[in-house]
């Protein structure tokens, strides 16, 4: 099957699953287990839980989705992850984590695909960290929301990846057929993750500023220079420049985004160097 055909069919399958609430998403077992461990400590607060949980975009999105649902009287409101967790409470959160841990593991038989999966995760965390720092440096009050927006800007990627892994298992285990290589695998994700991410974000009624970042974080909004979308756009380019990304990269295009963002958001070069210093160390650790 050609990559184009696979993309078309996969997009159709995913959109249908999203609309009918039949999408199963794997999460990082290490994150879920660590959060459960924290919750066992009666003195632990939701701030500590949020700090760990924000390492996994899918888990964070699930918590956010639940907290902003009508059942919690919070539909459509802007909210941080910590606020979302406080709204859910320990009991519901534990249920969510147990459910999440029970999903199939996020592993491929192809080591290169596994490496790409890790990088997809790390890129999301890196964009979250950078977006938060960028807005905090500009004095914007919304820097915590920026983390979440950065974390979720590519939420479609793990969604597509999870279904690709499901297909891989079916084809290789059940039908003993070959599977696409890591280059094609990333190509498929790059081609369809955006519409899938938007459909998911809208279906889950994530806060509108976050949906805007999922929809398009590729150009700057000149009318609102310190917006979440601008911070995420800039952070995305910086994370790529730092080498934390998977897939193809147009280096000239990315450098232009950094050049524009420095002026649009108002970040000096000294601050820029500080932002990216030690970034890789800050985003590794919880994937395994």
């Amino acid at each position: 099957m050609s990559v184009e055909k696979l993309c078309t069919e996969l997009e159709g399958i995913l959109l249908k699953r999203i609309q009918t609430d039949q999408l199963f998403l794997p999460t990082l077992p290490a994150v879920a287990m660590k959060v459960l461990e924290i919750l066992r400590d009666p003195d632990a607060g939701m701030k500590e839980v949020a700090l760990v949980m924000e390492k996994d975009p899918v888990l964070a999105a699930r918590a956010l989705r639940m907290a902003t649902s009508a059942a919690f009287a919070g539909a459509g409101k802007k909210i941080t992850l910590q606020e979302a967790l406080a709204r859910l409470g320990t009991k519901i959160l534990k249920g969510l984590l147990v459910e999440a841990s029970a999903q199939k593991l996020f592993i491929s038989k192809n080591p290169q695909i596994n490496e790409a999966l890790r990088t997809l995760w790390e890129h999301s965390v890196a964009v979250g960290v950078l977006a938060r720092d960028v807005l905090a440096l500009t004095g914007a009050v919304d820097s915590d929301s920026a983390y979440l927006a950065g974390l979720l800007h590519d939420v479609g990627k793990p969604v597509v990846a999870s279904v690709l892994l499901e297909l891989e298992r079916q084809l290789t285990d059940v039908y003993q057929k070959g599977w696409i290589d890591s280059g094609e695998w990333l190509d498929v994700i790059g081609k369809i993750h955006r519409p899938i991410g938007v459909a998911l974000a809208e279906k889950w009624a994530l806060p509108p500023p976050i949906v805007a970042c999922v929809r398009d974080a590729a150009e700057y909004d000149k009318s609102n220079r310190h917006s979440l979308a601008n911070a995420v756009c800039f952070a995305n380019a910086l994370a790529k420049k730092s080498g934390i990304f998977a897939g193809a990269l147009d280096a000239d295009d990315n450098d232009a985004l950094i050049m524009i963002g420095r002026s649009a958001i108002g970040i000096s070069d000294d601050i820029l160097r500080t932002l990216t210093k030690g970034l890789r160390e800050r985003v590794t650790g919880l994937y395994d």
């Binding site: 000149k222 000239d252 450098d255 420095r262 002026s263 500080t274 030690g278």
Partner: protein, 397 residues
């Protein structure tokens, strides 16, 4: 004098740019479009071009392309309202040095103009240089030279070499030496006798306070202060001036200085200087739910200032304690001055603010302070302890 060419079809933009650039001490040439811009480049030597994108007759990218094709490698900063990445990426390939999005702040223009003229790398190497900044800092530290070294006990570490507390720019070498002798050893100081060497150092180090003589021969101190501010945006820039019958403080502030330090230096004015720029951090320390005030050690005429400073900082400190969800806040006053009714007035203000956050106040201090507060209705029933430990035990009981 470096010359800068601004190419923009908007007269308003050219006027603003020309004003900012002239204030930096540079000559300015103007052109309305790319055609005029290229003509100017044929007749004049220019050190930097500030180039708009969308213009009639010939747009910015075309002018840039023609410049490069003809072998003209003059640095170009793109100054535009165009933010499409494809256009900026194209301009970057043609070798622009930097980019400014309109509308822009004067500081951004000044900073980028100076950076480009001084050969700064701009955004190049960002990201891929993870740790590169540390190497750059080490290189800068290696280059660092302390013109007026502090006593040996305060020798700078590798890190500290880049961060210097005070820069003195005065054509009389003795001024820096005199100030050095009056400052405590832990305050580092570098002295320069020329504006050029001072500005060069501003590119390499980070200063907390910059003192500039108002009477350096052949130097406009106001312009030097502005250039310093661009390079050291976080530093306080103060004038060094002689006392005269004029209102010197107003005069130097009009020139762009933050304040003035008078020559010859007097011990009390150096005390004030230290108090204002170096001793604030330890004045009121927050640890858990305890606010600890630094002991008052000054003369009687400093009492008002002591309480004024407390009034200025206690609100934020209380907010920190409240944000950590404490129900009780402990204020350790150390050894407060007891003259007049300043202490009870201050304590009443703290009680009120703490109440707004839903917290109760316990006070720690000497018996004299307890006695002084006992004479006022608002403070006589206050929970008072001799030590922080006792206050915590009292709260837990």
């Amino acid at each position: 004098m470096p010359a800068i060419l601004t190419v923009d079809d908007s007269r308003a933009v050219r006027t603003i740019v020309a004003k900012q650039v002239k204030e930096l001490g540079f000559e300015v040439l103007e052109a309305e479009d790319g055609v005029q811009g290229l003509e100017q480049l044929q007749t004049a030597t220019v050190d930097l071009v500030l180039l708009d994108v969308t213009m009639p007759n010939m747009d910015g990218p075309t002018m840039l392309q023609k410049m490069r094709e003809s072998g003209n490698q003059t640095p170009v900063i793109m100054l535009t309202s165009e933010s499409k990445r494809s256009i900026v990426a194209g301009a970057m390939k043609a070798g622009i040095s930097d980019y400014i999005l309109k509308p822009f702040k004067p500081e951004e223009l000044r900073s980028k103009v100076l950076s480009v003229l001084q050969g700064e790398p701009g955004a190049q190497g960002i990201g891929s240089a993870d740790g590169g900044s540390a190497a750059a800092a080490a290189e800068l530290a290696a280059k660092a030279e302390m013109s007026v070294p502090a006593p040996p006990s305060a020798g700078p570490s590798t890190n500290a070499a880049r961060f210097v507390d005070v820069m003195v720019v005065d054509d009389m070498e003795n001024v820096a030496k005199k100030l050095r002798s009056m400052l405590p050893a832990h305050v580092s100081l570098v002295g320069f006798t020329s504006a050029q060497s001072a500005l060069a150092s501003c590119r390499e180090k980070v200063y907390r306070v910059v003192l500039i003589d108002t009477e350096i021969p052949d130097v406009n101190s106001g312009v030097l202060a502005q250039q310093t501010r661009v390079l050291q945006p976080h530093a306080a820039v103060l004038a060094l001036a002689l006392r005269t019958a004029n209102d010197v403080t107003k005069e130097v502030k009009d020139q762009g200085f933050d304040d003035v330090v008078f020559k010859p230096f007097r011990p009390e004015s150096i005390d004030d200087f230290l108090l204002q720029y170096f001793d604030n951090q330890d004045f009121l320390v927050v640890e858990d739910n305890v606010l600890k005030v630094a002991p008052f050690t000054g003369r009687a005429d400093r009492v008002d200032r002591f309480y004024q400073r407390l009034q200025g900082v206690y609100g934020d400190a209380l907010e920190k304690v409240a944000a950590a969800c404490h129900d009780e806040v402990v204020l350790d006053m150390g050894a407060p001055p007891l003259e007049g009714d300043r202490l009870p007035k201050f304590i009443v203000a703290v009680i009120g603010k703490a109440k707004e956050y839903g917290m109760t106040l316990s006070l720690v201090g000497p018996a004299e302070a307890r006695k002084a507060l006992g004479g006022y209705t608002e403070t006589k029933d206050l929970k008072f302890f001799a030590s922080v430990q006792e206050a915590r035990a009292g709260a837990a009981a």
